[in-house]
């Protein structure tokens, strides 16, 4: 599903990632962990196509991200969901509108957009808050809006960059349950975190980064 061959990323003299080789299988749930500055966010952004690697190649479903045109990359992003620590919601738009955006860009009919958005909000437990605005909701609810937006187009891959970083433990558990449910439906999930609580007793594959390099990979038994 996701293949990285000798991928490096430099920002001037600073090496964010160095010679990364990875294979992520379809349907896997993978933690990407490491201290701040290890390269977790850079890795996710490269897989998302938001940046190009300085060296190496990234293949997603055998499509080389370095060789496709910009317009095709935009279309590919509809199959890759991205969830951020700071949610990245539009405070001037309602919960419904924030989620519907992901369908509007596909040119889908309004009736279909309305139906799918209602269904998705019900699935994440926000059907009664459709007309509210993000600032009126809790952190956990806002993250659920972001997740709903990220998965409404049935993405093949979901990238999550510290999505529970600003949430309390109870809410974190709820969000993690949501992510596991999404993964069980077949979506490949890459979850970047430095939280030891989340990694404790996990049975998921874990990739440890340090100073831009993979220092350890722990496969589930």
């Amino acid at each position: 599903m996701i293949k990285l061959f000798n991928v490096s990323k430099r920002y001037g003299q600073n090496v964010a990632l160095a010679d990364i080789n990875l294979r992520i299988r379809q349907g896997e749930f993978v933690f990407i962990t490491g201290p701040s500055g290890a390269g977790k966010t850079t890795l996710l952004r490269l897989i998302f196509g938001a940046q190009r690697p300085s060296d190496g190649q990234i293949l997603i479903s055998n499509i080389n991200l370095g060789r496709i045109r910009r317009a095709k990359l935009d279309l590919m992003r509809r199959r890759i969901g991205f969830v951020f620590q700071d949610f990245k919601l539009l405070s001037g738009k309602t919960v419904f509108q924030n989620v519907a955006i992901a369908l509007e860009v596909t040119g889908e009919r309004q009736a279909v957009i309305r139906k799918k958005t209602h269904q998705m909000l019900r699935a994440v437990g926000l059907s009664r808050k459709e007309t509210l605005y993000p600032p009126e909701l809790s952190g956990g609810e806002q993250q659920r809006i972001a997740i709903a937006r990220a998965i409404i187009n049935d993405p093949i891959i979901l990238l999550a960059d510290e999505p529970t970083g600003s949430l309390d433990p109870d809410i974190t558990k709820e969000i993690m349950l949501l992510f596991r449910t999404i993964n069980l439906r077949g979506t490949t999930l890459l979850f970047a975190t430095h939280s030891r609580e989340l990694l404790r007793d996990t049975d998921q594959r874990t990739i440890h980064l340090r100073k831009g390099q993979v220092v350890q990979e722990v496969e589930p038994e």
């Binding site: 190009r52 935009d74 590919m76 992003r77 990245k88 539009l90 955006i101 992901a102 040119g107």
Partner: protein, 299 residues
């Protein structure tokens, strides 16, 4: 699907304008003023051209008589004028009638004419040479012949004025188009900066749209439409004001001494459609320049 997308783009553009109406109103106001100035200039030129055309289709002459010509001398002049080929004698204006016409033209300021002890205005015969090739009429020669008649003080004809007028008109046109060009640049500058501001204000929204897979076109088209709408609305308001002004000044026909009545006409269809189209194009161009600077390749 294309129709669906374009409907969506139009709605987004309108909603963007309504959300930031103040800045768009300022921009539209500036466009309105610029188009109005240029439109007023065009209206002036169109009417001048029409008047020149009207005058140029016939040559009129005023044959001014000496004060002491007497009735016999006047009749001799009249006979001489009747002998001119293709000439039609429009009428005879006595000294008293000439003064009366001038008083009417002066209106409220006619009291100024009371200062004259004697009437300085000459009597005149008004001639028109119609249905003839004005250029080949050799008006100067006719003028010399008539001025040689006893009792004729001076002869003036409309072509002298038209020639001078056409020269001035060409200068005015050239100057006007230079000013028009500068106004177009001003409109372009205004719309570019307005769209840049709206793009900047929406940069978070643009980031999210790109995040969920919006193409560059999906993001850019509403901004282009915003620029076009600015140009269209500004242009239409300017044309409306211009028409209103035209309606007011065309209520009374213009008189100018012995010259025919001058009618004020509005811009022809091609001119006002061209103005509206130019406004839209300038707004669109402003949007293109703005998004070109904001959306760099590879960003």
């Amino acid at each position: 699907m294309a129709l669906r997308l374009w409907t969506y783009f139009f709605k987004r553009a309108v909603s963007n304008i309504l959300e930031q109406r103040l800045i768009h109103l300022i921009s539209m106001g500036t466009i309105t003023i610029s188009v109005l100035l240029f439109g007023a200039f065009l209206l002036f030129i169109v009417n001048l051209n029409a008047w020149l055309l009207e005058w140029g289709q016939s040559l009129s002459m005023s044959v001014y008589l000496e004060d002491d010509i007497g009735e016999k001398g006047r009749l001799q002049v009249l006979e001489a004028l009747k002998g001119l080929p293709n000439a039609e004698i429009r009428g005879y204006i006595s000294k008293e009638e000439a003064m009366e016409n001038l008083r009417e033209a002066f209106g409220a300021q006619a009291v100024l004419l009371d200062g004259f002890e004697r009437n300085p205005l000459p009597a005149s015969f008004e001639l028109v040479f119609k249905d003839t090739d004005v250029k080949s009429l050799r008006a100067e020669r006719i003028k010399e012949d008539l001025e040689s008649i006893t009792g004729v003080e001076e002869v003036q004809y409309s072509e002298q004025w038209i020639d001078r007028f056409e020269g001035i008109l060409s200068l005015i046109k050239a100057g006007g188009f230079i000013v028009g060009g500068l106004l177009c640049l001003a409109v372009l500058f205004i719309t570019t900066n307005t769209i840049k501001l709206t793009i900047y204000a929406r940069r978070d929204e643009i980031e999210i749209y790109k995040l969920v897979g919006a193409t560059d076109g999906f993001v850019k088209v509403p901004f282009l439409l915003e620029g076009s709408f600015q140009g269209l609305i500004g242009g239409l308001i300017a044309l409306g004001v211009l028409y209103l002004v035209y309606s007011l000044i065309s209520l009374e026909p213009l008189y100018a001494s012995a010259f025919p009545v001058l009618h004020v006409i509005f811009l022809p269809v091609w001119a006002w459609l061209g103005l509206a189209g130019l406004s839209v194009l300038l707004g669109l161009a402003g949007g293109l320049v703005a998004i070109g600077r904001f959306f760099q390749p590879g960003a």
